[in-house]
Symmetry: C2
Subunit: 122 residues, 2 copies
DNA sequence: CCGTATCCGCCCTGATACTG
DNA sequence: CAGTATCAGGGCGGATACGG
């Protein structure tokens, strides 16, 4: 259920950060939550075209455990669950800004196919 | 031999950047090459405790293909091969700076075991 | 010194079906 | 609406042995 613990100790800060954002959808989840402040499960699913419920849940749980995401459950019918970034999640997203900009440059250089290139300053 | 091509198009710049730094040793390789400007194969191997020759070669080849690393072969006996960062590799490393700083904070917060925490400004 | 070649286990991811 | 359970495939990382 849990993510496999890292094999060994971290070698540097990059390692510790990559350990937390490695995952096919985590970058995008971070960006979605930062852009909208609060998102429900179904909203996130719609915002991540192609993601399965299992992977979305799994990633959200890991990010919650890593202290990036806050999960608020409302005891209602129908059930409602809202996800938002914690302070650490927000600072991580800030720290990813330059990397995202570099990635956009890389895409432009290589003319890679892209679905959507969000503005870095959103 | 080649890295598996990404399953689909990139969703955002973060994706495109993570695609290139994902790999157990790539962050550290980047940092080693940026700190020393030029490193031989055996020097890199010593700088990455625990890496196997296969993984080091594989990562270096991928990074070369991605335009991050320059590989210079000298036709000498004994053979000598020197690795260095390209301009793109250098800018990527710059873009990773904030992420590395965030990672260092995370390590401090969690009291994780760490082998070595290099200074961000080296 | 600088790699290749081969084999292997495990985790990551995904498809599908089912539940409160 | 918001998940959980189960099964399966494939890539990634690693161990080991060999080559120029």
């Amino acid at each position: 259920m849990d993510r496999t613990p890292r094999s060994g100790p971290y070698i540097c800060g990059i390692d510790a950060a990559l350990d937390v954002v490695s995952g096919k959808w985590k970058g995008l989840i971070l960006w979605e939550l930062d852009a909208h402040r609060v998102r429900r499960f179904s909203e996130l699913r719609r915002g991540l075209p192609g993601v399965t419920e299992k992977m979305l849940t799994q990633h959200l749980r890991e990010m919650e455990k890593d202290g990036l995401v806050h999960r608020e459950v409302y005891a209602e019918v129908p059930p409602r669950v809202e996800y938002s970034l914690t302070e650490h999640g927000h600072t991580l997203n800030q720290a990813l800004g330059p990397l995202g900009a570099w990635g956009v440059d890389r895409i432009r250089r290589e003319g890679s196919e892209v679905v959507d290139v969000p503005e870095t300053a959103h």
